[in-house]
């Protein structure tokens, strides 16, 4: 291609501002928002996590140290915090999926009217402030609260159950918050499954249960996987539930981050914790996406 041709082509390209390839740049302002108010702050946080802490002024500018990470890796206090967060998040994920699947299946099988009612029951809590949800559970679960009161009046228990300000309380809170997302994700994937596959399995003599176990369940695996990712990631970063419903049994990473920033005023350590949490979450998301891509490719092949 000669020079003249090249220049003509590029000249033409700049005029095609309304064409698809160029239109993609309309996303630039939104990406700039991400870059300036998400990426830069994260980098900033990374830099501060590598600074020397100085009591009284959060951190000393221009200094370099690995102190905060050394502390995180060696102090068993932080290892306990991370393992508690991970453990509770795993538990919450398993419970969340167990609760989400049946109702998602029901939503998918129900007629239009029931479907609206069920979706309404799922989406209203989703769009309600999580503090309101936690407040509701505080009322229900507290030692003198509705649950214990009811059970004692019925004579089922003599003394109040310990169902809040411990791990149980945290689990209830996070399941409540994340369940609607999981339900909607699984329901959407179930809705995309070709009904005729299930019907043909039934035609070939599979029982209802077998058709479900061998057809519907495997086909909904992508939905289960993304629901699990959402619950797990959310739980890893959750702050309000452990803070309000948890007790002395353990601390979440986010609680420690917040107290380093707002109470201890040790920014390097807080930032180090936040960077570690952020990296864990990114790792989970990347692993989940890679797994999803590999499975999709294998299914396609």
């Amino acid at each position: 291609m000669g020079d003249a041709a090249t220049s003509e082509t590029s000249g033409g390209g700049s005029r095609g501002s309304w064409q698809r390839l160029d239109r993609a740049w309309l996303a630039l302002p939104a990406v700039v928002l991400t870059a300036v108010f998400f990426v830069i702050p994260i980098l900033f946080m990374g830099r501060i996590s590598l600074s020397v802490h100085e009591s009284g002024s959060a951190y000393r500018e221009g200094t370099w140290t690995l102190d905060s990470y050394v502390t995180l890796l060696t102090d068993s206090f932080y290892l306990r915090i991370f393992s508690y967060t991970l453990g509770v998040s795993l538990l919450v994920t398993v419970l969340g999926l167990a609760f989400a699947y049946p109702i998602a299946y029901w939503i998918n099988r129900s007629g239009p009217r029931l479907k609206v009612i069920l979706l309404f029951a799922v989406i209203v809590p989703l769009w309600t402030n999580i503090l309101v949800l936690i407040y509701g559970w505080l009322i229900i679960l507290s030692p003198g609260g509705a649950l214990n009161d009811g059970l004692m009046r019925l004579g089922l228990i003599d003394s109040p159950l310990r169902v809040v300000y411990n791990t149980f309380g945290i689990v209830v809170g996070i399941v409540q918050i994340t369940l609607p997302y999981a339900i909607l994700i699984i329901a959407a994937v179930l809705a995309g499954i070709d009904r005729s596959l299930v019907e043909s399995a039934r035609d070939m003599g599979a029982s209802r249960l077998k058709a479900f176990l061998h057809v519907t369940l495997p086909l909904s695996a992508p939905g289960i996987a993304s629901a699990a990712t959402v619950i797990f990631v959310w739980s890893m970063g959750e702050y309000a539930s452990p803070q309000l419903l948890g007790g002395s049994a353990g601390k979440f990473v986010s609680q420690e981050v917040s107290s380093q920033f707002l109470t201890a005023f040790n920014w390097p350590r807080g930032a180090g914790l936040a960077v570690t949490l952020f990296s864990l979450i990114v790792l989970i998301l990347v692993v989940a996406q890679t797994a999803a891509r590999v499975t999709a490719r294998r299914n396609a092949a």
């Binding site: 003249a4 033409g12 064409q19």
Partner: protein, 378 residues
């Protein structure tokens, strides 16, 4: 080839001279590359004033891309586009004075029929009273009076198509572009609208460029057909010529049914030549293009309707002996599959009264030399 079109070579780039004969559309060396893919490969053609030209070809041949480049919806890679003599190659679509009927009709769903049709006139700043007059006239032309207040969603497929046509003709464009404009309709409605659209086009004398993959549609409606294949123009001629004298095996195969026998030129000279097929038959035919050369590989194309079947050897230019392998009733006619000596089948289409042969019958298939088209083997 991009060099040629891109270098400012005055004589080839200058708008075609001589005022009165300026075509409404002239395309010179037009190319479109999508990355490494060459969708349109340096094509040239013109559409004269009042002419109805179809671009016909299989999907992926570059016909829609060509139309979209004319409309300004696709940037050209190389080449020039002139509308009524002025270079519009780099003008945005709204400055080209074209109008387009889309396959999906592309009606504005939130506007009623009147506002849809009036849109182009409003954009041109036409006064309201005139808009109303012209919209009313366009609505009459497409026989949709009384539907002005309806929304597109309240119309049938055929009615939507008419609104799309009205919306395009009302602006009196220099050239009307139609992209598979009838494809989404069912067969009967389509045939009816083909005739209506053609009538409208002739009445208004509106210059039209029509893209379709349907050969019947192209044959019915066009003054001229441009057959495209893999980004190139395979033939640019009147419908009867494209049908009777296809320029290549591709054109012959794409337009109408054709038997194809491969071979090479055994004796040439003049208009006629003798072809020895690969199966060893000698056939006489008219050659198209540059096939004259003795020894040159070529293909022989014969239309099934040009073939007659006989129990005894007839005296005709070409006679091939074979056996009836199958026959099928086609309503108006019978279709016969004759297996040939040396392999291969021949498809023959016989009128009812001539269809007297049964499976296994030994027959002589005969056809005139002028019904044999000799083309380059691709």
């Amino acid at each position: 080839m991009t060099d040629v079109s891109a270098q400012p070579m005055e004589d080839s780039v200058a708008p075609p001279g001589g005022g009165a004969t300026t075509p409404d559309l002239e395309v010179q060396g037009l190319s479109k590359h999508f990355g490494p893919v060459v969708a349109v490969d340096s094509i040239d053609f013109t559409v004269d004033s009042g002419e109805f030209v179809s671009i016909l070809g299989p999907s992926g041949c570059g016909k829609t891309t060509t139309l979209r480049m004319v409309a300004g919806l696709e940037e050209v890679t190389a080449g020039r586009i002139f509308i009524r003599g002025s270079d519009v190659t780099h003008l945005p679509p709204e400055k080209r004075n074209t109008a387009m009927v889309f396959q999906s009709y592309a009606l504005f769903p939130h506007m009623n029929v009147h506002d849809n049709v009036a849109f182009g006139l409003k954009m041109r700043g036409v006064a309201k009273a005139e808009i109303d007059d012209r919209v009313a006239m366009a609505m009459r032309r497409v026989r949709l009076e009384g539907y002005e207040k309806r929304k597109p969603s309240q119309l049938s497929g055929g009615q939507r198509q008419r609104v799309a046509v009205a919306r395009a003709i009302v602006v009196e464009p220099a050239i009307l572009l139609l992209d598979e404009a009838l494809t989404n309709l069912d067969r009967r409605l389509r045939q009816q609208l083909q005739l209506e659209l053609k009538e409208l086009q002739v009445d208004l004398g509106i210059t039209s460029l029509f893209v379709t993959h349907d050969q019947e549609e192209a044959l019915t409606m066009s003054d001229r057909i441009i057959v495209m294949d893999e980004g190139l123009i395979a033939q640019n001629a009147e419908p009867s010529e494209v049908y009777d004298r296809p320029a290549s095996a591709f054109v012959a195969g794409f337009i109408g049914e054709s038997n194809r026998l491969d071979g090479s030129v055994a004796a040439g000279g003049g208009e006629m030549c003798t072809i020895r097929t690969d199966a060893g038959l000698d056939l006489v035919g008219v050659h198209a293009g540059h096939v004259g050369h003795v020894g040159r590989q070529c293909a022989v194309m014969v239309r099934p309707r040009a073939i007659t079947l006989h129990a005894d050897r007839p005296t005709k230019d070409n006679v091939i002996e074979g056996v009836v392998k199958l026959w099928a009733y086609k309503g108006e006619s019978y279709e016969y599959v004759i297996s040939l000596p040396g392999g291969g089948d021949l498809l023959a289409n016989l009128p009812r009264r001539e269809a007297v042969f049964e499976r296994g019958d030994r027959v002589f298939a005969a056809f005139d030399a002028r019904d044999v088209i000799v083309v380059e083997r691709v």
